[in-house]
């Protein structure tokens, strides 16, 4: 694709996402290679899906934690889902926070667990914002290519 200003912007943003550690360069590059003409919106779709689902998962984790007694099975499942999808996507910070969360709960450390959940939420909000912008730019860039 021609290196239009839009594309350039996109590329800059992409790089900044990597630099901030929000996205894993290797994994994202890998995903990008999977995209082809038949499915040009692949990456966007994946990102969008992730944003939507990760929000759901985090909410579920929070709810599960608030019930009494704590709904561990649901929490476990949600954490694994989040871990898996963030890993598959290359959302490094989210993935890292999820791992910390898991570890805390596995260790039985509720306090730390709750604290890391809050941190995860913050990271997630931040990630969502930036990624939403990136997705928007991606869409625009594609359109401008047509």
């Amino acid at each position: 694709m021609a290196s239009t200003p839009l594309r350039q912007q996109l590329s800059i943003m992409r790089q900044s996402l990597f630099d901030e550690g929000l996205l894993d360069h290797e994994q994202v590059s890998y995903l990008e290679t999977l995209e082809n003409e038949d499915d040009p919106d692949f990456i966007e779709n994946v990102f969008t899906l992730f944003l939507r689902d990760s929000t759901r998962y985090i909410d579920s984790i929070e709810k599960a934690l608030e019930t009494s007694p704590v709904d561990y099975p649901v929490m476990e499942r949600m954490m694994y889902r989040l871990k898996g999808s963030s890993a598959s996507l290359g959302a490094s910070k989210i993935n890292g926070e999820t791992n910390t969360l898991r570890k805390n709960f596995h260790d039985g450390d509720m306090e730390s667990g709750k604290a890391s959940l809050q941190k995860l939420k913050l990271e997630h909000v931040n990630f969502k914002e930036k990624l939403a912008v990136y997705i928007g730019m991606l869409k625009q860039a594609k359109l401008s290519d047509y």
Partner: protein, 651 residues
């Protein structure tokens, strides 16, 4: 065989491979689908296990392989694994972001062909077709095997299966590499997975002789050593030696190590026991063990085995050692559990003797199994089993302070496997990997509980069957089961099949159902047959076969289905076939047996039936083997229990 179709491989293979992906996370599902399409596979995705199951059921031959996530809301991934293995006998690959050893091990023991850790790369997916090929190949082999009565064939097959298994295990990232049969549960899809489909071979006298001869050689060739090791692996696994969870490959390694370690302890005991039990010259046994140990471990510890043996002999409590190993193993594998179950019934003094014997037997079994799984002298097996059970129990007990509970638990699992235990010990022989299903039990608590309870329930129904009785009479709990198991003669041995099946499928129930169904109605293998197809679990066959067989107590048939020994089970089975719940229970256990082997009721039951003399058992076993080989094709002997392979259920 589920997909035995002709090679079914088109020129473009693996392109066009029909993959069913099950994952409740949309992001992963989309990415996976993408990657699979790039591999030129035909992808169907679904986000619910139940949907996946119904898709598979509607179109049995519509898919070649299934990839499923472990953590799913509506159904546990392992359960799905088992069900698929039982019903459709397709290779199943598990995946998850969870890379904990236990979980992966669980996958292996449940028969997953492989276990992928997320994030998944396309490279990992590019090779999944080999699981399909391997499975088919094994299935064919099984078919061929069934045709040939010889045990050796089975054994070879088993070995090859094991080899396949192990190789697959080594593949890929942490893949369990195939379901090693997997235990048993279907999910394993048997071939690759742990459940090697080999028809179970009865440990016949011939086999035993072979074994002895080998032992005498001492110079035991690598193969034997490997076999021995395998057998021992079965046992060793119990001891938790198989710490290496990485698929089969590791198992071997670990087994070796474990074997080595455990062997030493076992050796001492085993030799004694073996000698006693099998009347094999202690020396031979020692040699064998040493050889086995030395060889299998291939570690510099060679000299150890011998030394250990000596020590062992004098070791008063060899079982402790064994137990220790087992303990560890407990967590890892059900095997240990199985044993526990068995010994319960043994009387204290018997136990004492048994301990030693059990250990040795256990190892012997293993070794024997290694050799020929197939026909070992029933006696040996039986004794082994018993001793195994005992030893395990004892060992476990000593090891684990809470043994009773732990044993109970395993027993629960075992309950199902009671036969299986026997089997496991025996089946270990090669199946080690596959076997582990039993060992899986450690974590299987969950599993066994359900199963066992069911088993027990079933057992009860079966109650009549001598083989089964042990389980049934007791009550649903493992503790009881253990004792029960002993009841019939203390052999639970044949359980291997069951066990292998068990491990294969967690869903014993599933198997049982099949088994149960078969039992009842059909008494015919017909029913079983259908089940068999479905459940490769050997166990199922075995169990069922027994029932059919002679009314004798239907011991779950030597195959290890002692539990099912369907003889009695038949009664229940009938009820079961009608009554779903019963079937489930029964089916689980039986099915296992059945699936693998054509439930040759006659054969199987004979094994356990106490009524039968050992000779009868042996002949029964042999018969079964023959039968199995002849017809059982589908039996996927998940475990190579061979010794008990009742698989030859006359179809």
């Amino acid at each position: 065989m589920s997909t035995a179709s002709s090679g079914g491989v088109s020129d473009q293979f693996p392109a066009g491979l029909r993959v069913l992906v099950v994952d409740d996370d949309p992001t992963c599902l989309v990415i996976l689908e993408k990657m699979l399409r790039i591999c030129l596979y035909e992808v169907t995705k679904c986000n619910r296990a139940e949907i996946a199951l119904s898709l598979l059921r509607e179109n049995r031959n519509g898919y070649d392989i299934v990839i499923s996530d472990v953590h799913m809301p509506d159904m546990d991934g392992f359960k799905l694994l088992e069900l698929i293995g039982l019903e459709m006998d397709l290779p199943v690959i598990m995946m998850s972001a969870d890379d904990g050893k236990n979980v992966v091990m669980k996958g292996v023991t449940h028969g997953a062909c492989d276990y992928l850790i997320k994030p998944i790369r396309i490279e990992a997916l590019k090779n999944i077709w080999q699981h399909v090929v391997r499975k088919r190949k094994n299935e064919w082999k099984d078919l061929e095997q069934s045709g040939s009565v010889e045990e050796g064939g089975d054994r070879q097959q088993k070995q090859s299966e094991d080899a396949d298994y192990s190789s697959s295990a080594n593949e890929g990232s942490w893949k369990n590499s195939k379901r090693r049969k997997d235990e048993e549960e279907e999910v394993d899809e048997r071939d690759d997975t742990s459940t090697l489909k080999k028809p179970r071979v009865v440990w016949s006298v011939e086999l035993h002789q072979q074994f002895v001869a080998a032992v005498n050689q001492l110079g035991i060739d690598k193969k034997h050593a490997m076999d021995i090791r395998r057998t021992i692996l079965g046992e060793v696994r119990l001891s938790g030696v198989s710490q290496h969870q990485s698929g089969m490959g590791n198992s071997f390694i670990s087994t070796q190590e474990a074997t080595y370690g455990s062997l030493s302890s076992l050796n001492g005991l085993d030799l004694q026991t073996l000698a006693a039990a099998s009347q094999i010259p202690a020396q031979s046994l020692a040699t064998l063990q040493a050889a086995g140990l030395g060889r299998s471990t291939a570690k510099p510890r060679m000299p150890m085995p011998i030394v250990d043996q000596r020590n062992l002999f004098s070791f008063e409590n060899p079982k402790l050692r064994f137990g220790e190993g087992q303990q560890q193993h407990l967590n890892n594998g059900k095997q240990i559990n199985l044993l526990h179950g068995i010994p319960t019934t043994m009387e204290p003094k018997q136990l004492a003797n048994m301990h030693h014997s059990a250990q040795s037997l256990g190892s012997m079994n293993m070794q024997l199994n290694a050799h020929g799984d197939q026909s070992g002298s029933l006696l040996m097996q039986m004794s082994q089993q018993q001793s195994r059970g005992q030893i395990l129990n004892e060992a476990t007990s000593s090891q684990v302070p809470r043994l009773p509970s732990s044993i109970g638990q395993p027993i629960v699992n075992n309950a199902l496997a009671s036969g299986v235990l026997a089997r496991n010990g025996l089946a270990e022989s090669g199946r080690g990997t596959g076997f582990n299903p039993v060992s899986q039990s450690s974590s299987t608590m969950n599993f066994p509980l359900n199963t066992t309870a069911e088993l027990t329930a079933t057992s009860f129904a079966l109650g009549s069957a001598p083989g089964v009785p042990s389980l049934t009479s007791k009550g649903v709990f493992p503790e009881e089961i253990n004792s029960e198991i002993k009841g019939p003669g203390g052999f639970i041995m044949p359980s291997y099949d069951i066990f292998s099946d068990l491990q294969h499928h967690r869903s014993h129930d599933w198997e049982l159902q099949n088994a149960g169904m078969t039992f009842n109605g059909s008494q015919q293998t017909n029913s079983l047959q259908s089940n068999v197809d479905v459940a490769s679990s050997v166990l199922a066959h075995q169990g069922f076969s027994s029932s059919q067989s002679n009314g004798q107590g239907r011991n779950i048939s030597a195959v290890g289905k002692p539990m099912f020994s369907a003889g009695d089970a038949t009664e229940h089975v009938n009820a079961q076939s009608h009554g779903q719940p019963l079937n489930n229970f029964f089916a689980e256990n039986l099915v296992r047996v059945k699936t693998e082997r054509v439930p040759d009721a006659s054969l199987q039951t004979t094994l356990f039936n106490e009524q039968f003399g050992q000779e009868d058992l042996m002949s029964a076993l042999l018969k079964q083997q023959q039968q199995q080989q002849a017809g059982i094709g589908p039996a996927e002997n998940e475990f190579d229990f061979d010794g008990y392979s009742l698989d030859n259920i006359p179809v």
